[in-house]
Protein backbone atom coordinates (compact mmCIF):
# COMPACT_ATOMS: atom_id res chain seq x y z
CA UNK A 1 0.00 0.00 0.00
CA UNK A 2 1.31 3.45 -0.86
CA UNK A 3 2.30 5.79 1.92
CA UNK A 4 0.17 8.84 2.59
CA UNK A 5 2.03 11.92 1.29
CA UNK A 6 -0.36 14.85 1.65
CA UNK A 7 2.46 17.36 1.14
CA UNK A 8 3.09 16.80 -2.58
CA UNK A 9 0.67 19.46 -3.81
CA UNK A 10 1.87 22.57 -1.95
CA UNK A 11 2.68 25.19 -4.62
CA UNK A 12 6.34 26.15 -5.03
CA UNK A 13 7.41 23.71 -2.31
CA UNK A 14 9.39 20.45 -2.22
CA UNK A 15 9.21 18.48 0.99
CA UNK A 16 12.44 16.69 1.82
CA UNK A 17 11.29 13.16 2.57
CA UNK A 18 13.03 9.78 2.39
CA UNK A 19 12.57 9.65 -1.39
CA UNK A 20 14.21 13.06 -1.94
CA UNK A 21 16.86 12.19 0.61
CA UNK A 22 17.83 9.05 -1.27
CA UNK A 23 17.96 10.93 -4.55
CA UNK A 24 20.09 13.71 -3.09
CA UNK A 25 22.32 11.70 -0.79
CA UNK A 26 25.68 12.54 -2.40
CA UNK A 27 24.69 16.09 -3.26
CA UNK A 28 23.86 16.74 0.38
CA UNK A 29 26.92 14.91 1.68
CA UNK A 30 29.12 16.99 -0.63
CA UNK A 31 27.52 20.07 0.98
CA UNK A 32 28.45 18.76 4.44
CA UNK A 33 32.10 18.67 3.39
CA UNK A 34 31.98 22.47 3.07
CA UNK A 35 31.79 22.78 6.85
CA UNK A 36 35.58 22.50 6.89
CA UNK A 37 37.55 25.62 5.92
CA UNK A 38 40.24 23.77 3.86
CA UNK A 39 37.48 22.12 1.80
CA UNK A 40 35.81 25.48 1.21
CA UNK A 41 39.13 26.83 -0.07
CA UNK A 42 39.61 23.90 -2.44
CA UNK A 43 36.03 24.21 -3.71
CA UNK A 44 36.43 27.94 -4.34
CA UNK A 45 39.72 27.36 -6.14
CA UNK A 46 38.26 24.79 -8.57
CA UNK A 47 34.60 23.92 -8.04
CA UNK A 48 34.40 21.55 -10.98
CA UNK A 49 37.39 19.48 -9.89
CA UNK A 50 36.09 19.38 -6.32
CA UNK A 51 32.67 18.16 -7.47
CA UNK A 52 34.28 15.45 -9.59
CA UNK A 53 35.58 13.85 -6.39
CA UNK A 54 31.96 13.05 -5.46
CA UNK A 55 29.72 10.33 -6.95
CA UNK A 56 27.07 12.90 -7.87
CA UNK A 57 25.00 12.92 -11.07
CA UNK A 58 25.96 15.37 -13.80
CA UNK A 59 22.62 17.17 -13.26
CA UNK A 60 23.52 17.66 -9.59
CA UNK A 61 26.97 18.98 -10.43
CA UNK A 62 25.58 21.35 -13.08
CA UNK A 63 22.98 22.69 -10.64
CA UNK A 64 25.71 23.40 -8.06
CA UNK A 65 27.96 25.08 -10.64
CA UNK A 66 25.02 27.25 -11.75
CA UNK A 67 24.37 28.07 -8.05
CA UNK A 68 20.72 27.37 -8.87
CA UNK A 69 19.08 26.23 -5.66
CA UNK A 70 15.74 25.35 -7.27
CA UNK A 71 17.55 22.91 -9.53
CA UNK A 72 19.57 21.58 -6.59
CA UNK A 73 16.33 20.91 -4.70
CA UNK A 74 14.81 19.19 -7.73
CA UNK A 75 17.88 16.91 -7.72
CA UNK A 76 17.31 15.92 -4.09
CA UNK A 77 19.07 18.73 -2.24
CA UNK A 78 17.80 20.03 1.08
CA UNK A 79 18.06 23.73 1.85
CA UNK A 80 19.92 23.28 5.16
CA UNK A 81 22.60 21.28 3.36
CA UNK A 82 22.62 23.55 0.29
CA UNK A 83 23.05 26.57 2.55
CA UNK A 84 26.66 25.51 3.01
CA UNK A 85 27.31 26.23 -0.68
CA UNK A 86 25.92 29.72 -0.21
CA UNK A 87 27.92 30.17 2.98
CA UNK A 88 31.07 29.19 1.10
CA UNK A 89 30.37 32.03 -1.35
CA UNK A 90 29.65 34.40 1.56
CA UNK A 91 25.90 34.54 0.95
CA UNK A 92 23.27 34.92 3.67
CA UNK A 93 20.18 32.74 4.04
CA UNK A 94 18.09 35.66 2.82
CA UNK A 95 20.16 35.95 -0.36
CA UNK A 96 19.82 32.21 -0.92
CA UNK A 97 16.06 32.08 -0.27
CA UNK A 98 15.45 35.11 -2.46
CA UNK A 99 17.43 33.58 -5.32
CA UNK A 100 14.77 30.88 -5.70
CA UNK A 101 11.99 33.39 -6.45
CA UNK A 102 13.32 35.28 -9.45
CA UNK A 103 13.42 38.46 -7.38
CA UNK A 104 16.51 40.59 -6.96
CA UNK A 105 18.04 40.71 -3.50
CA UNK A 106 16.47 44.12 -2.94
CA UNK A 107 13.01 43.07 -4.17
CA UNK A 108 13.00 40.04 -1.88
CA UNK A 109 14.24 42.01 1.12
CA UNK A 110 11.53 44.62 0.54
CA UNK A 111 8.87 41.89 0.36
CA UNK A 112 10.03 40.56 3.73
CA UNK A 113 10.07 44.01 5.35
CA UNK A 114 6.54 44.56 4.05
CA UNK A 115 5.39 41.45 5.96
CA UNK A 116 6.55 38.60 3.76
CA UNK A 117 4.76 36.56 1.12
CA UNK A 118 1.05 36.18 1.74
CA UNK A 119 -0.35 32.68 2.09
CA UNK A 120 -3.46 33.77 0.17
CA UNK A 121 -3.55 32.01 -3.18
CA UNK A 122 -0.49 29.96 -2.24
CA UNK A 123 -2.06 27.09 -0.32
CA UNK A 124 -3.25 24.85 -3.14
CA UNK A 125 -2.56 24.26 -6.85
CA UNK A 126 -4.84 26.17 -9.20
CA UNK A 127 -5.01 29.30 -7.06
CA UNK A 128 -3.57 32.61 -8.18
CA UNK A 129 -0.93 33.51 -5.55
CA UNK A 130 2.59 34.74 -6.22
CA UNK A 131 4.22 31.31 -5.77
CA UNK A 132 2.04 29.64 -8.44
CA UNK A 133 3.69 28.43 -11.67
CA UNK A 134 1.93 31.05 -13.84
CA UNK A 135 3.70 33.83 -11.90
CA UNK A 136 7.30 32.62 -12.25
CA UNK A 137 9.78 34.21 -12.22
CA UNK A 138 8.44 36.78 -9.81
CA UNK A 139 10.89 39.62 -10.05
CA UNK A 140 13.49 41.22 -12.25
CA UNK A 141 16.53 39.14 -11.32
CA UNK A 142 18.69 38.78 -14.40
CA UNK A 143 19.51 35.10 -13.82
CA UNK A 144 18.45 32.06 -11.86
CA UNK A 145 20.79 31.24 -9.00
CA UNK A 146 22.64 33.33 -6.45
Amino acid sequence: MALDKPYLDVPGTTIFDAEQSRKGYWLNQFCMSLMKAPNRERFLADAKAYLDEWPMTQAQKDAVLARDLNRCIAEGGNIYFLAKIGATYGKSFQQMAGSMTGMTEEEYRDMMIAGGRSVEGNRHPGEDGSAQPQHQPQGSAAKAGF
Partner: protein, 284 residues
Amino acid sequence: MARITASVYTSHVPAIGAALDLGKTHEPYWQKVFSGYEYSKQWLRETKPDVIFLVYNDHATAFSLDLIPTFAIGTAAQYQPADEGWGPRPVPTVMGHPDLAAHIAQSVIQDDFDLTIVNKMDVDHGLTVPLSLMCGQQDKDSGAWPCPVIPFAVNVVQYPVPSGRRCFNLGRAIRKAVESYDEPLNVQIWGTGGMSHQLQGPRAGLINAEWDKRFLDRLIAEPEALAQVPHIDYVREAGSEGIELVMWLIARGAMSDHAPAVKHRFYHVPASNTAVGHLILENT
Protein backbone atom coordinates in the same frame (compact mmCIF):
# COMPACT_ATOMS: atom_id res chain seq x y z
CA MET B 1 13.75 17.35 43.97
CA ALA B 2 14.34 19.20 40.70
CA ARG B 3 11.47 21.02 39.08
CA ILE B 4 10.63 22.79 35.84
CA THR B 5 9.72 26.34 36.80
CA ALA B 6 9.31 28.03 33.46
CA SER B 7 9.40 27.64 29.69
CA VAL B 8 10.75 29.95 27.03
CA TYR B 9 9.80 29.90 23.34
CA THR B 10 11.76 31.67 20.66
CA SER B 11 12.72 31.62 17.00
CA HIS B 12 16.37 30.80 16.29
CA VAL B 13 17.08 32.59 12.99
CA PRO B 14 20.80 32.35 11.98
CA ALA B 15 20.83 35.99 10.78
CA ILE B 16 20.12 37.06 14.38
CA GLY B 17 23.39 35.41 15.38
CA ALA B 18 25.16 37.09 12.49
CA ALA B 19 23.71 40.49 13.45
CA LEU B 20 25.08 40.04 16.99
CA ASP B 21 28.44 38.68 15.88
CA LEU B 22 28.97 41.38 13.24
CA GLY B 23 27.93 44.27 15.48
CA LYS B 24 24.70 45.17 13.65
CA THR B 25 22.47 45.26 16.74
CA HIS B 26 22.01 49.04 16.59
CA GLU B 27 20.66 49.05 13.05
CA PRO B 28 16.91 49.90 13.10
CA TYR B 29 16.10 46.65 11.29
CA TRP B 30 17.63 44.59 14.12
CA GLN B 31 16.63 46.92 16.95
CA LYS B 32 13.02 45.91 16.33
CA VAL B 33 13.97 42.26 16.84
CA PHE B 34 16.20 42.74 19.88
CA SER B 35 13.72 45.08 21.60
CA GLY B 36 11.52 42.03 22.11
CA TYR B 37 14.18 40.40 24.29
CA GLU B 38 15.06 43.26 26.66
CA TYR B 39 12.56 42.07 29.25
CA SER B 40 13.66 38.47 28.72
CA LYS B 41 17.32 39.13 29.54
CA GLN B 42 16.31 40.79 32.81
CA TRP B 43 13.87 37.97 33.56
CA LEU B 44 16.57 35.35 33.01
CA ARG B 45 18.99 37.15 35.34
CA GLU B 46 16.31 37.23 38.02
CA THR B 47 15.00 33.69 37.69
CA LYS B 48 18.52 32.18 37.78
CA PRO B 49 17.96 28.70 36.32
CA ASP B 50 20.39 25.97 37.41
CA VAL B 51 19.95 24.11 34.13
CA ILE B 52 18.35 24.91 30.77
CA PHE B 53 16.86 22.00 28.83
CA LEU B 54 17.04 23.39 25.30
CA VAL B 55 14.90 21.86 22.56
CA TYR B 56 16.15 22.78 19.09
CA ASN B 57 16.85 21.27 15.72
CA ASP B 58 20.19 20.56 14.16
CA HIS B 59 20.39 22.10 10.66
CA ALA B 60 22.55 19.50 8.89
CA THR B 61 25.41 20.24 11.25
CA ALA B 62 26.01 17.47 13.80
CA PHE B 63 23.73 15.12 11.86
CA SER B 64 24.31 14.67 8.13
CA LEU B 65 22.34 12.17 6.06
CA ASP B 66 24.48 9.44 7.64
CA LEU B 67 22.43 9.52 10.80
CA ILE B 68 19.02 11.10 11.40
CA PRO B 69 17.82 10.66 14.98
CA THR B 70 14.26 11.78 15.63
CA PHE B 71 15.02 12.76 19.24
CA ALA B 72 18.61 13.13 20.48
CA ILE B 73 19.63 14.12 24.01
CA GLY B 74 23.09 15.53 24.70
CA THR B 75 24.76 13.87 27.68
CA ALA B 76 28.23 15.36 27.14
CA ALA B 77 30.14 17.65 29.50
CA GLN B 78 30.49 20.34 26.85
CA TYR B 79 29.60 21.28 23.27
CA GLN B 80 31.52 23.48 20.84
CA PRO B 81 29.78 26.02 18.59
CA ALA B 82 29.77 24.50 15.09
CA ASP B 83 31.25 25.75 11.84
CA GLU B 84 28.12 25.78 9.65
CA GLY B 85 29.99 27.07 6.62
CA TRP B 86 30.51 30.69 7.71
CA GLY B 87 33.03 29.73 10.43
CA PRO B 88 32.00 29.01 14.06
CA ARG B 89 30.04 31.71 15.91
CA PRO B 90 32.38 33.54 18.33
CA VAL B 91 30.42 32.52 21.42
CA PRO B 92 31.38 30.57 24.57
CA THR B 93 31.53 26.79 24.76
CA VAL B 94 28.22 25.36 25.96
CA MET B 95 28.62 23.44 29.21
CA GLY B 96 26.38 20.41 29.63
CA HIS B 97 24.87 18.69 32.65
CA PRO B 98 25.77 15.03 32.05
CA ASP B 99 24.24 13.76 35.28
CA LEU B 100 20.78 15.27 34.85
CA ALA B 101 20.86 14.50 31.11
CA ALA B 102 21.61 10.83 31.75
CA HIS B 103 18.88 10.74 34.40
CA ILE B 104 16.34 12.21 31.97
CA ALA B 105 17.44 9.81 29.21
CA GLN B 106 16.97 6.81 31.47
CA SER B 107 13.59 7.94 32.74
CA VAL B 108 12.19 8.99 29.36
CA ILE B 109 13.36 5.84 27.56
CA GLN B 110 11.74 3.72 30.27
CA ASP B 111 8.63 5.78 29.57
CA ASP B 112 8.62 4.46 25.96
CA PHE B 113 10.31 7.40 24.17
CA ASP B 114 13.33 5.97 22.38
CA LEU B 115 15.91 8.73 22.57
CA THR B 116 19.29 8.71 20.86
CA ILE B 117 22.06 9.46 23.34
CA VAL B 118 24.77 11.80 22.11
CA ASN B 119 28.11 12.04 23.91
CA LYS B 120 29.87 14.14 21.30
CA MET B 121 28.47 16.83 19.02
CA ASP B 122 28.88 20.43 17.99
CA VAL B 123 25.87 22.72 18.37
CA ASP B 124 24.65 25.07 15.64
CA HIS B 125 22.67 28.31 15.53
CA GLY B 126 19.52 26.44 16.56
CA LEU B 127 20.96 26.22 20.05
CA THR B 128 23.33 29.20 20.28
CA VAL B 129 21.02 31.91 18.88
CA PRO B 130 18.37 31.41 21.60
CA LEU B 131 21.14 31.57 24.22
CA SER B 132 22.45 34.82 22.71
CA LEU B 133 18.95 36.32 22.59
CA MET B 134 18.18 35.44 26.20
CA CYS B 135 21.62 36.04 27.74
CA GLY B 136 22.89 38.89 25.59
CA GLN B 137 26.15 38.88 23.70
CA GLN B 138 28.89 36.82 25.33
CA ASP B 139 32.55 36.97 24.43
CA LYS B 140 33.96 33.67 23.20
CA ASP B 141 36.75 33.63 25.81
CA SER B 142 35.90 36.02 28.63
CA GLY B 143 32.12 35.44 28.53
CA ALA B 144 30.04 32.46 29.65
CA TRP B 145 26.47 31.19 29.44
CA PRO B 146 24.71 31.54 32.80
CA CYS B 147 24.25 27.84 33.53
CA PRO B 148 24.66 24.32 32.11
CA VAL B 149 22.53 23.42 29.10
CA ILE B 150 21.13 20.06 28.02
CA PRO B 151 20.79 20.08 24.22
CA PHE B 152 17.79 18.18 22.91
CA ALA B 153 17.78 17.90 19.11
CA VAL B 154 14.62 17.06 17.15
CA ASN B 155 14.62 16.00 13.51
CA VAL B 156 12.57 18.52 11.56
CA VAL B 157 14.77 18.34 8.45
CA GLN B 158 13.80 15.02 6.82
CA TYR B 159 10.17 14.00 6.73
CA PRO B 160 8.40 12.57 8.52
CA VAL B 161 9.19 14.65 11.59
CA PRO B 162 7.57 13.70 14.92
CA SER B 163 3.92 14.68 15.30
CA GLY B 164 2.78 17.50 17.54
CA ARG B 165 1.04 14.96 19.74
CA ARG B 166 4.21 12.92 20.13
CA CYS B 167 6.17 16.05 21.02
CA PHE B 168 3.61 17.17 23.60
CA ASN B 169 3.58 13.76 25.29
CA LEU B 170 7.37 13.63 25.25
CA GLY B 171 7.33 16.94 27.11
CA ARG B 172 5.19 15.32 29.78
CA ALA B 173 7.69 12.47 30.12
CA ILE B 174 10.53 14.99 30.47
CA ARG B 175 8.62 16.77 33.24
CA LYS B 176 8.22 13.48 35.10
CA ALA B 177 11.90 12.71 34.63
CA VAL B 178 13.05 16.07 36.00
CA GLU B 179 10.75 15.75 39.00
CA SER B 180 12.33 12.43 39.93
CA TYR B 181 15.84 13.91 40.14
CA ASP B 182 16.93 14.26 43.76
CA GLU B 183 18.93 17.46 43.67
CA PRO B 184 16.72 20.58 44.09
CA LEU B 185 17.47 22.16 40.71
CA ASN B 186 15.61 25.05 39.11
CA VAL B 187 15.18 23.81 35.53
CA GLN B 188 13.87 25.81 32.59
CA ILE B 189 12.81 24.23 29.32
CA TRP B 190 13.12 26.18 26.10
CA GLY B 191 11.38 25.36 22.83
CA THR B 192 12.90 27.00 19.78
CA GLY B 193 12.46 27.44 16.01
CA GLY B 194 9.71 28.90 13.85
CA MET B 195 7.51 30.80 13.55
CA SER B 196 6.15 30.90 10.00
CA HIS B 197 8.86 30.77 7.36
CA GLN B 198 9.81 29.04 4.15
CA LEU B 199 13.38 28.97 2.89
CA GLN B 200 12.93 27.13 -0.39
CA GLY B 201 11.39 27.31 -3.83
CA PRO B 202 9.20 29.96 -5.46
CA ARG B 203 7.16 30.10 -2.23
CA ALA B 204 10.19 31.25 -0.18
CA GLY B 205 9.45 34.16 2.12
CA LEU B 206 6.00 32.97 3.16
CA ILE B 207 4.78 34.53 6.42
CA ASN B 208 1.39 33.98 8.06
CA ALA B 209 1.07 36.33 11.01
CA GLU B 210 -2.55 35.45 11.65
CA TRP B 211 -1.74 31.74 11.93
CA ASP B 212 1.29 32.44 14.13
CA LYS B 213 -0.67 34.59 16.58
CA ARG B 214 -3.37 31.96 16.83
CA PHE B 215 -0.63 29.38 17.50
CA LEU B 216 0.67 31.51 20.38
CA ASP B 217 -2.86 31.90 21.81
CA ARG B 218 -3.50 28.17 21.65
CA LEU B 219 -0.05 27.24 22.96
CA ILE B 220 -0.89 29.21 26.09
CA ALA B 221 -4.52 28.22 26.51
CA GLU B 222 -5.11 24.81 24.89
CA PRO B 223 -1.79 23.13 24.08
CA GLU B 224 -3.19 19.61 24.05
CA ALA B 225 -5.71 20.52 21.34
CA LEU B 226 -3.00 22.41 19.42
CA ALA B 227 -0.86 19.27 19.51
CA GLN B 228 -3.46 17.53 17.29
CA VAL B 229 -2.73 19.82 14.32
CA PRO B 230 -1.29 17.67 11.48
CA HIS B 231 2.02 18.43 9.75
CA ILE B 232 0.38 19.43 6.49
CA ASP B 233 -1.37 22.35 8.19
CA TYR B 234 1.97 23.74 9.34
CA VAL B 235 3.44 23.37 5.84
CA ARG B 236 0.48 24.85 3.98
CA GLU B 237 -0.21 27.67 6.42
CA ALA B 238 3.17 28.50 7.99
CA GLY B 239 5.66 27.43 5.30
CA SER B 240 7.78 24.33 4.91
CA GLU B 241 10.18 25.39 7.67
CA GLY B 242 7.30 26.51 9.93
CA ILE B 243 7.16 22.83 10.91
CA GLU B 244 9.87 23.66 13.47
CA LEU B 245 7.03 24.85 15.70
CA VAL B 246 6.28 21.26 16.76
CA MET B 247 9.33 21.63 19.00
CA TRP B 248 7.52 24.27 21.06
CA LEU B 249 5.03 21.57 22.05
CA ILE B 250 7.77 19.59 23.81
CA ALA B 251 8.50 22.55 26.08
CA ARG B 252 4.78 23.20 26.61
CA GLY B 253 4.12 19.56 27.48
CA ALA B 254 6.79 19.77 30.17
CA MET B 255 4.85 22.51 31.98
CA SER B 256 2.37 21.72 34.75
CA ASP B 257 -1.27 21.02 33.90
CA HIS B 258 -2.36 24.29 35.54
CA ALA B 259 -2.71 27.44 33.45
CA PRO B 260 0.70 29.15 33.24
CA ALA B 261 1.46 32.79 33.97
CA VAL B 262 2.29 34.62 30.74
CA LYS B 263 5.32 36.72 31.65
CA HIS B 264 6.16 37.98 28.18
CA ARG B 265 4.90 37.81 24.60
CA PHE B 266 6.50 39.26 21.47
CA TYR B 267 5.93 38.92 17.74
CA HIS B 268 7.73 40.63 14.90
CA VAL B 269 8.12 40.28 11.12
CA PRO B 270 10.76 39.91 9.76
CA ALA B 271 14.14 38.69 10.87
CA SER B 272 15.65 37.75 7.53
CA ASN B 273 13.13 35.22 6.10
CA THR B 274 11.29 34.53 9.32
CA ALA B 275 8.53 35.64 11.68
CA VAL B 276 10.00 35.99 15.16
CA GLY B 277 7.81 34.74 18.00
CA HIS B 278 8.72 34.72 21.66
CA LEU B 279 6.89 33.70 24.83
CA ILE B 280 7.84 33.23 28.46
CA LEU B 281 5.52 31.09 30.59
CA GLU B 282 5.95 30.37 34.28
CA ASN B 283 4.39 27.53 36.21
CA THR B 284 1.92 28.76 38.78
